[in-house]
């Protein structure tokens, strides 16, 4: 169909690339589920090192500290938008600067960026001290369910990351920004978002791992 340029077709509520994305996702889901082998149970694999209540309480106290000392809530997802912004600045500076999101949120190497990079180091420290450093490209639970194809895992993880980041930006945060910081501030937006995280997550996970 040829719509005149610069006008939007009246029926086109969803942009083309979004509908392509939804189509690709559906296809990927069906392929992955069709390739599935056995029924898996997450409890067959090692769980937490410390009590989840202890870790949770620690994170709660940490949020007091970030509010008090840095005047910032804990959050992770905008770090990836920051990386996207810096990459965009390198590749197409003018185009990047013209995008509404980057105008509203100019990329900045700040507290957020250092915070997320340090999460990697903190995770490494905890894993090494607890003897839990895995050094593996595929999680055993994934392999048991979907086999050892790296291509499948890479494609599914990449697509997942893509949809997740899009959702996080639209919803205004991730499992940290909404799921912990927003909910603990009793923000209505965060409670709506976190409930939807789990509705979406449970539906797709059940389809992928139990179907």
């Amino acid at each position: 169909m040829n719509w005149p340029t610069n006008t939007r077709s009246p029926g086109q509520v969803i942009p083309k690339c979004v509908s392509y994305l939804i189509g690709t996702l559906a296809l990927l889901l069906i392929c992955a589920a069709a390739d599935a082998r056995t029924i898996v149970d997450a409890r067959d694999y090692a769980g937490y090192a410390w009590s989840p209540y202890l870790a949770g309480a620690g994170i709660g106290v940490l949020s007091w500290l970030t509010f008090y000392f840095s005047d910032k809530p804990i959050g992770a997802s905008s770090f990836y938008a920051l990386l996207a912004g810096f990459l965009g600045k390198l590749i197409a500076p003018r185009h990047t600067a013209s995008l509404v999101y980057f105008k509203d949120n100019p990329p900045r190497v700040g507290w957020q960026a250092v915070f997320v990079i340090s999460i990697i180091v903190g995770g490494a420290l905890a894993a090494v001290t607890g003897g839990e450093f895995t050094n593996e490209w595929l999680s055993p639970m994934w392999t048991e369910r979907f086999g050892d194809s790296m291509t499948l895992r890479a494609a599914v993880a990449f697509a997942g990351g893509l949809i997740m980041a899009f959702g996080a930006r639209l919803a205004g945060g991730c499992t940290s920004g909404h799921g912990i910081s927003g909910t603990l501030q009793l923000n209505l937006a965060s409670w709506i978002a976190v409930i939807c995280f789990f509705i979406g997550g449970i539906s797709v996970a059940m389809f992928l791992f139990k179907w």
């Binding site: 937490y48 209540y53 007091w64 990351g161 499992t175 501030q185 923000n187 209505l188 978002a193 539906s203």
Partner: protein, 197 residues
Amino acid sequence: MIDPGKAVKKWGKNPAQYVDAAPELIAGAMFGLAFGFLLQKGGVGKFHVLIGQLLLQDFTVAKVMLTAIVVGMIGVFTLHHFAKVNLHIKPTQIGSNIIGGLLFGAGFALMGYCPGTAAVALGQGSWDALFGMAGLIAGSWMFAELSGWTKRTIENWGDLGKVLLPDLLHVPRGVFVVGFATALTALLVLLERFNTR
């Protein structure tokens, strides 16, 4: 029509405009280190723990999150009562919170890590997080590409501004915090009773 010249100028050439001061960066590093450490020790950097939550087999994620919410809520609202901290409330836009939330969840189930726990997974040597992180960067870019459109459409659906649960229910904040903390703790007790993990 957007004038790209102005926006480029706004970003500036002076590093001070896009790099924070050293004390702030050091604080960020310390807090990030602690956050990553606690997440890994809590087990939520593991693929099967996160997917196990979505399969309703392993409730570690819910336990970590709910405990953090109860403890965090009591402290932050107490500090806020004594004017020691500011609240950082994101506006409620029902349309984008629901659609974005559902998309986030779907992506979470596919990737097996969320943005913060992907960083933990990378640190603990679960290299598949790298594919997901590449996807996160691509998805953030895609959102930026469409941000003009989302701002005109989805973000206006049910835009209520900044709303807190106690304000919505017309209950004093202190009363709500105490009641809600009790309710969430009761939920944790129930979870512990009916689930081994």
